[in-house]
């Protein structure tokens, strides 16, 4: 499973990354989930995302412009 966090490095993006890491850990997915930060604007735009941070799971945009809670991310990962 590939998880991407899109954002140019604002505080909210860091928070979302943190939440994603926690969600992955608590589901015990450490081994088969990899989290990648996408910080290049041109790469972010390819996903059609205009508000950051955004969460992408396996190529699908799951949320834009908000910091999901750990629980919400868990729900998306299951």
């Amino acid at each position: 499973m590939k998880i991407k966090i899109l954002g140019i490095g604002c505080p909210k993006c860091k928070k979302l990354t943190q939440h994603a890491e926690e969600a992955v850990k608590s589901l015990g997915l450490d081994l088969d989930a990899e989290i990648e930060k996408v910080t290049q604007i041109s790469d972010i735009m390819k996903f059609g995302v205009m508000t950051t941070p955004a969460l992408v799971i396996d190529g699908h945009v799951k949320s834009v412009g908000k910091v999901l809670s750990v629980e919400e991310i868990k729900g998306l990962l299951k």
Binding site: I8, K12, I41, M45, K46, V49, M50, T51, S63, G65
Partner: protein
């Protein structure tokens, strides 16, 4: 009783309780000051205490209500929807729509660049995009509530209307100047994908978003609001000194000076209110102070640095110049009529 009726009933109950408390704030403040604390009528300290005990809960209650309502309204306007509305719109109509949508579309300043690219690469004209980017920070709901609470509805209304007008005109002027070639070249080459993410929210979800906005915004700004009202209370009833009147008064050069001082400063709308209160208390003119406030929250160096990624220096300079000019006109207008 079904869910919908239940929901309606509890909303009405909450609003009624809010209204009842709001209405009784003035007598409670008077009772607190003169009966409970036993202070003397007519003393400066008593007037200051009464002012604070009345204004602080009043402004906070207004803030909670407005931020909550704006949060719900914003749940209807995603940036994606706004872009679809604005795409291919003609000048002027587009500028007016963009300025209005800028108020209700949620985005934080760190999203300014992706929004800009997302807009201009999918058929939203440059000038219309600029109108959107100007109105969003310029017309700020927190500033609006504070102006309403502390200076009355007329000042708040003029702030709202002039903010929207500045956004419309700045975008329109930049559109007329045909400055598309001053957008950095890579912007138009960017491939903008299509995020097929359209969430349909139900009402409980929208209310949750409204509550989140209250928690986030009011949680961040309440301390500045209290400091601002505290300063207001401190100077309440005292004759304003003319200390600031000489440099932030109604002279023709005080408005441009206020804007020049304001642009390099960066603060959120609530953080600036204590300063506004203090300046007014020291005899500064309202128009001059308002121009200063708009320059601080509408134009800032961090914003310039962010926008420099997509705008060439010339367009960035025109952008700041046009908006600063608009703010100065608002300052002069206020000084003239107040």
């Amino acid at each position: 009783m079904n869910k919908k009726q239940n929901f309606l009933l509890s909303s009405i109950t909450v609003i009624t309780i809010w209204w009842l408390i709001y209405r009784s704030l003035a007598p409670i403040a008077a009772w607190f000051t003169y009966t409970l604390l036993g202070m003397n009528h007519g003393s400066h300290l008593a007037a200051a205490v009464e002012f604070f005990v009345y204004e602080a809960p009043k402004v906070l209650m207004l803030l909670i209500l407005v931020v909550f309502v704006v949060g719900i309204v914003r749940s209807f306007f995603t940036p994606e929807r706004t872009r679809r509305i604005l795409s291919g719109k003609r000048e002027f109509t587009g500028n007016v729509l963009a300025a209005l949508l800028g108020i209700v579309t949620p985005f934080c300043s760190c999203s300014a660049v992706p929004l800009f690219i997302g807009f201009v690469t999918t058929g939203v004209p440059l000038g219309v995009t600029i109108s959107f980017l100007v109105s969003s920070p310029m017309v700020n709901e927190v500033a609006l509530v504070l102006l309403f609470g502390l200076f009355g509805w007329k000042v708040a209304a003029i702030y709202l209307v002039t903010g929207v007008v500045i956004a419309i005109v700045s975008g329109w002027v930049i559109g007329r100047l045909r400055m598309e070639k001053h957008v950095d070249d890579w912007v138009y080459l960017t491939q903008t994908g299509n995020a097929a993410l359209e969430e349909e929210l139900d009402w409980p979800a929208r209310i949750r978003l409204g509550l989140d906005a209250v928690k986030d915004i009011v949680g961040r700004v309440w301390i500045y609001v209290l400091i601002g009202i505290g300063i207001g209370a401190g100077i309440h009833g005292y004759v304003p000194q003319n200390f600031m009147a000489s440099i932030m008064g109604k002279s023709w050069w005080s408005v441009p000076l206020a804007v020049l001082i304001g642009v390099p400063m960066y603060s959120n709308a609530a953080g600036i209110i204590p300063i506004v209160q203090a300046l007014l208390g020291k005899g500064a003119a309202l128009g001059t102070v308002l121009a200063f406030m708009m320059a601080v929250i509408g134009l800032s160096l961090p914003e310039a640095i962010i926008l420099r990624k997509v705008l060439k220096p010339k367009l960035l300079a025109v952008f700041f110049g046009v908006v600063a000019l608009g703010i100065m006109l608002v300052g002069y207008l206020f000084n003239l009529i107040m």
